[in-house]
C-alpha cells in the first residue's frame, strides 16, 4: 500500500494537539526537524556511550559518559579503556578544555588546533550535538518517504540558504514517523554523497524512542567508519550549572 505523506503528517500533527481546523497547507517540515532534534538531545541529557573508531589497520572502542546542556555545552568523561579512563573534555560555546588524569592538569585547546573531527572520530561535534545550524541556515522541504520495519520514514531535504556558512550542498535527514532520527546523508556541492550517517538501531531509551546505534561512513574512505552506541540516557534532567566549570572538569563529583 502506498504510503501517503499528507495523511500521515496531518494525523501526526493532530495527534500532537494541533487543531484540525488550523491544519497547515504546507507541512511544517521545520517543525518536524525541530522535534526530531529535541527527541535526540533534549535541553539537557546524561548518556553512557560506547564509541568505536574503525580504520583499515585498526579498531578502537571507547566508553564515555556525556552530560550536555543545550547545543553548546558538554562535559565528556572517558571511562574505558584504561589508558583513556579519567580523561575529560569540557566544551562551553566555542572554547574547549581538556583534562588528563596523568597530568592532573586542565589545558585549553588552542585556537590553532580547531578541527572538525571529535576525538579523532568521523563524527563532528555538530553531528553529535545536532546544532541549530541545520534549522537556521537551511531551507527545508519533504522528499519522497518510504516504509521500513513497520514505520513510515520521511526524508527532510535541507538546502543551504544563500550566503550560509555551510560547506554542504545538501543534507537529507531521515525522520521516522515517531520523530526519531533515522539517518543522515551529507552531499558535497556537486550533490554527490560525501558522508552518510546510518542509524542501525532504534530502541526505547530514557522514556523515548532513540537512535541507540549510529554509524558515520565517510564516502571517500570506504574502510573507515565510527559507531556511537548509547547504552543509557536520561533527558531533561536538572544538571547543576557548577557541572560545566573547569573545577568540575578537574574534580568530578560522582
Amino acid at each position: 500500500m502506498r504510503f501517503s505523506v499528507g495523511i500521515a503528517l496531518a494525523g501526526w500533527l493532530i495527534g500532537t494537539g494541533v487543531p484540525a481546523a488550523v491544519a497547515p497547507a504546507q507541512p511544517d517540515v521545520e517543525g518536524l526537524l525541530r522535534r526530531a532534534f529535541d527527541n535526540y538531545r533534549a535541553t539537557t541529557s546524561q548518556n553512557q556511550i560506547a564509541m568505536t573508531i574503525h580504520r583499515a589497520a585498526w579498531e578502537r572502542r571507547m566508553q564515555l559518559t556525556a552530560q550536555t546542556r543545550g547545543t553548546e555545552d558538554a562535559l565528556v568523561r572517558f571511562t574505558a579503556p584504561a589508558q583513556e579512563a579519567g580523561s575529560a573534555t569540557l566544551k562551553l560555546g566555542s572554547e574547549t578544555w581538556l583534562f588528563n588524569p596523568k597530568l592532573n592538569q586542565v589545558i585549553k585547546l588552542p585556537g590553532s588546533m580547531l578541527a572538525r573531527s571529535w576525538m579523532g572520530s568521523d563524527f563532528t561535534y555538530e553531528d553529535l550535538a545536532k546544532s541549530e545550524s541545520v534549522i537556521d541556515d537551511f531551507t527545508h522541504s519533504l522528499g519522497p518517504g518510504r516504509t521500513e520495519g513497520g514505520h513510515g520514514i520521511w526524508t527532510v531535504v535541507c538546502t543551504p540558504k544563500p550566503g550560509a556558512a555551510v560547506v554542504w550542498g545538501r543534507i537529507d535527514i531521515d525522520v521516522r514517523d515517531d520523530g526519531v532520527i533515522a539517518g543522515e546523508t551529507f552531499f558535497d556541492q556537486d550533490l554527490k554523497p560525501a558522508r552518510r550517517m546510518s542509524v542501525d538501531r532504534i530502541a526505547p531509551l530514557g522514556g523515548r524512542n532513540y537512535p541507540v546505534s549510529m554509524t558515520m561512513h565517510p564516502s571517500d574512505e570506504p574502510a573507515s567508519w565510527t559507531r556511537v552506541e548509547t547504552s543509557s540516557a536520561r533527558f531533561n534532567i536538572a544538571l547543576p550549572s557548577s557541572l560545566f566549570t573547569l573545577s568540575s572538569l578537574q574534580n568530578p563529583r560522582s
Binding site: I53, R55, A57, W58, R60, Q83, E84, S87, L98, N100, K102, L103, Q105, I107, K108, L109, P110, S112, M113, M119, G120, S121
Partner: protein, 407 residues
C-alpha cells in the same frame, strides 16, 4: 694535408687568430667560473636549508607527506638504519617519531610539532642541536627532557628548567600525555621553525604516542648532498623492499627546488646569449677574412683544389681556432675556479647574516662536468653551424673572378 694547411693558415696572421682565440677563451673562462659559482652557491643554499632539519633524503611511509598520521610507520626501522648507514656517502641515518600535540605551561597553550629523536645521531643531520642558545641539547642519557624553539618558549612563558606539559593523540587515537623538563632553547632565525617545534628523546616519544619500536621517518645525511643523491637508486631499492618510500631533497623542499630551477633557467638564457654574441663576432671576423683572401683562394682553385676542399679548410680553421680558444679558456677558468674553491669569495654583509643560518660566510664555486663542459660545447656547436656561412661563400667562388679580384 688539409690539416697542415689549416694550421699554417691560422698562423699566417697571428694577431687576428690570437685576438679571436682570446675572445673565445675569455667567454669560456667566464662561463666556467659563472657556472661553477651557480652550482656551488645553489648547492650551498640547498645544503644549508636541508641541514636545518630535513636531512638530504628521508625514508617515509608511502603517502605520509600528504597525511602525516601516527597510524603509518616504518616497520623494522633497525634494518633500514643499518643498511642505509653502510652505503658510502650516507654516513648518518636518524630515526624520528613525528607527532603533533598541545604544549601547555601555566595557562598558556600552543599547538606544536613534537619530534622524538636520538640525541647522539641527530646532530649529524640537523643544525638544531648546534643552534641551542640557552641551556643544552638533549643527551643520550636523558629520559624526560625537551628542547624547543625560542619563540615557542617565549609564547609559552617558559625558561630553561621549567616543566612543559604535552597532550595529544597517539597511535590509534589513544591519548598521549607527558610532562617534560626544558633543558635548552634553540634559535634558527627562521620564525616558523622557532615557534613550532619541540624535540624530545625518541624512546620517551615512542612510549607517549604508542609507537614502541616504531618510527615515522628516517632522515639521511652525509658529507655532501651529491654523495647522498648518488645513492638514491640504492636507497630506493631498500625502501621498496621495506615497503616504504624514499624522498629526495627536491621532494623534501619543493619550493627550494622550484626557486633554483627558475634561477638556473634565467641564468642559462643569459649565458647562451653571451655565447651567441661571441660566436657572431668571431664569425664576422672570419667571413671578412675569407673575403679578404679571395685572391688566395682563386690561386688555390687554379692549382686544382676543389671549392669543397677550400670550404672545408676554412671551416676547419674556424673549428681549430675555436677549439684552441676553448681549451685555453676552460683551463684558465678551471684554474681560477679551483683556486677560488679553496679560498671562497667574501660578499659584503654576508658574513654577518650567514652564521645565523648555518651558512658559510664565504661563497664557494664548485667545479663539475656541467660547469666545465657546457661553455665549450655550446661555442663549438655554434661555430659548427655558423661556419656554414663562410663555407657557402667559398663555394660560390669562380676561379677566374677570384684571381682577378682587385682590392
Amino acid at each position: 694535408m688539409l690539416l697542415a694547411l689549416t694550421w699554417r693558415n691560422l698562423w699566417r696572421r697571428p694577431q687576428r687568430t690570437l685576438l679571436s682565440m682570446a675572445a673565445i677563451a675569455l667567454v669560456n673562462a667566464l662561463l666556467v667560473l659563472a657556472l661553477s659559482f651557480m652550482v656551488g652557491v645553489y648547492g650551498t643554499m640547498k645544503e644549508t636549508t636541508l641541514r636545518i632539519f630535513d636531512g638530504y633524503a628521508q625514508f617515509q611511509p608511502d603517502g605520509w607527506g600528504d597525511d602525516p598520521s601516527l597510524d603509518r610507520d616504518i616497520g623494522q626501522p633497525q634494518v633500514l638504519l643499518e643498511r642505509a648507514r653502510r652505503l658510502s656517502g650516507v654516513t648518518t641515518a636518524s630515526p624520528r617519531v613525528n607527532a603533533f600535540a598541545i604544549l601547555a605551561h601555566g595557562d598558556r597553550s600552543y599547538g606544536a610539532a613534537v619530534v622524538g629523536v636520538e640525541p647522539a645521531i641527530e646532530g649529524r643531520i640537523s643544525s638544531i642541536p648546534g643552534a641551542i642558545r640557552e641551556g643544552r641539547y638533549l643527551a643520550a642519557s636523558d629520559s624526560d627532557t625537551a628542547i624547543l624553539g625560542e619563540l615557542l618558549a617565549r609564547n609559552l612563558g617558559l625558561k630553561v628548567g621549567d616543566r612543559v606539559t604535552l597532550l595529544g593523540a597517539g597511535r590509534e587515537q589513544a591519548s598521549a600525555a607527558d610532562v617534560l623538563t626544558v633543558v635548552g632553547l634553540y634559535r634558527t632565525g627562521i620564525p616558523d621553525l622557532d615557534r613550532s617545534i619541540l624535540e624530545m628523546p625518541l624512546g620517551r616519544a615512542q612510549d607517549d604516542f604508542g609507537m614502541q619500536g616504531l618510527v615515522t621517518t628516517i632522515a639521511l645525511a652525509g658529507p655532501s648532498l651529491d654523495g647522498v643523491n648518488r645513492q638514491l637508486p640504492a636507497l630506493r631499492a631498500m625502501a621498496l623492499s621495506a615497503g616504504v618510500s624514499v624522498l629526495d631533497w627536491s621532494a623534501l623542499e619543493p619550493g627550494l627546488d622550484e626557486q633554483i630551477k627558475l634561477k638556473y633557467a634565467s641564468a642559462l638564457q643569459f649565458y647562451f646569449t653571451l655565447v651567441a654574441v661571441v660566436a657572431f663576432i668571431t664569425l664576422n671576423t672570419l667571413l671578412m677574412s675569407v673575403l679578404e683572401r679571395t685572391r688566395e683562394f682563386g690561386v688555390l682553385l687554379a692549382l686544382g683544389m676543389r671549392p669543397g676542399q677550400i670550404g672545408t679548410m676554412v671551416w676547419l680553421e674556424l673549428l681549430l681556432m675555436s677549439a684552441l680558444g676553448c681549451v685555453a679558456g676552460v683551463a684558465a677558468g678551471a684554474a681560477v675556479t679551483f683556486w677560488l674553491a679553496q679560498q671562497g669569495v667574501a660578499i659584503p654583509g654576508l658574513d654577518k647574516i650567514a652564521p645565523q643560518f648555518g651558512m658559510p660566510s664565504r661563497l664557494y664555486p664548485s667545479l663539475t662536468p656541467f660547469s666545465v663542459l657546457t661553455a665549450p660545447t655550446a661555442i663549438l656547436v655554434c661555430m659548427l653551424i655558423g661556419g656554414l656561412a663562410p663555407f657557402a661563400r667559398v663555394m660560390r667562388l669562380k676561379p677566374a673572378d677570384a684571381v682577378r679580384t682587385a682590392r
